[in-house]
Point group: C2
Chain length 165, copies 2
C-alpha cells in the first residue's frame, strides 16, 4: 500500500468509497482535467491515488456542491497546476464564487420565508376545522393574510435562476 513516497496509495475504488464519488465520476473528472496532478498508474495501468488527491477531490466536491460548474473548477485546477504566482487570480475566482453562493443562500432564504408562510396558512386552515378556505379550482391567490407578504424578493423573473438553486 505504500510506494515509498511516504504517502498511502489508493485504488480508484477506494477513492470512490472515501469521496462518495462513483468510479465513473472519478474517471470522468480526470478526463475533464479536474485533478491537480496527473494520476499515477501502477505497472498494470491502473490508477493510483494518494491522500493528496483525495483532499483535492474533497475540495472539488465542495465547490461542486456549492454550484461551481466543472469548467470553473477546471480553471481553478489549472491555476493550481501552474504553481505559485497566480494567487490573485485564484483569489478572484474564489471570491466570485463566494458571492454566488452568498446570493444563492439569500435567494433560498427568501423562498423559505414564503414556504414557511404558506405552511403556516395551511396549518391554520387545518386546525381550525377541516373545511372552508383556500383556492379551489382557479387559484384564487392562495388565501391572503397579507398581500405584501407574498413576493418579497424574487420579483419579476425570480432572479432568473431556476435550477441554479
Amino acid at each position: 500500500m505504500d510506494t515509498g513516497t511516504g504517502t498511502t496509495d489508493l485504488s480508484i475504488g477506494q477513492v470512490a468509497e472515501r469521496t462518495g464519488l462513483s468510479v465513473h465520476a472519478l474517471r470522468f473528472y480526470e478526463r475533464e482535467g479536474i485533478l491537480a496532478n496527473p494520476v499515477r498508474r501502477d505497472p498494470g495501468g491502473r490508477r493510483v491515488y494518494g491522500e493528496d488527491d483525495v483532499e483535492w477531490l474533497t475540495l472539488c466536491i465542495i465547490l461542486r456542491a456549492s454550484g461551481m460548474p466543472l469548467p470553473a473548477i477546471r480553471q481553478y485546477t489549472e491555476m493550481v497546476r501552474r504553481g505559485d504566482g497566480n494567487e490573485e487570480e485564484r483569489l478572484a475566482l474564489l471570491r466570485l464564487h463566494r458571492e454566488r453562493v452568498t446570493d444563492q443562500i439569500g435567494r433560498l432564504t427568501r423562498c423559505l420565508d414564503l414556504i414557511n408562510h404558506k405552511v403556516g396558512v395551511y396549518e391554520d386552515i387545518i386546525d381550525r376545522g377541516a373545511a372552508g378556505h383556500e383556492c379551489v379550482a382557479p387559484p384564487a391567490p392562495e388565501n391572503r393574510p397579507a398581500r405584501e407578504e407574498r413576493l418579497r424578493g424574487n420579483g419579476p423573473n425570480g432572479t432568473g435562476s431556476p435550477e441554479q438553486v
Copy 2:
C-alpha cells in the same frame, strides 16, 4: 383587456414579461400540467391569462427556484385543482420541500464557511508579499492553518448532492 370577468386579461407575451419566464417555458409548463386552471383561449385560439394565473406562476417560480422539481409542482397543482379537502396532503408536500430547502441552505452555508476560509488563506498569502506558499504541482493539501478546519460537515460523500445545490 377586460372580458367582463372583472379581471385583467393578458397575452402569453405579457405574462412572459411579468413573470420572467419565456413564452416557450409558459407553453411547456402548461403541457406539463403546471397551471391550476386550464388556460382560456380567445376566438383566434390564443391563450388568455388572468392575474390569477400570474400569481400561481409566481408561486411555481418560487418553488422551482428553491429546487422543487416539476413533477412535484405538478402534484401540488393537481391537489389544488382537486379543490378543498386535501389540505393535509398539500401541507405534507410543502413541509417536505421546506425541509429540503433548509437542508440545502445548511449545506451551502457549510460550503461557504470553507470557501471563506480559503479566501482568507489566499488573502494572507498575497498581502504578506507575493511568493512562497501554497501547493505547487501536487496539491499539498492547500496550505494548512488548522487541519480540522477543512471538512466540517459534508463528510464522506459531500452529502451526495452535487448540483442539487
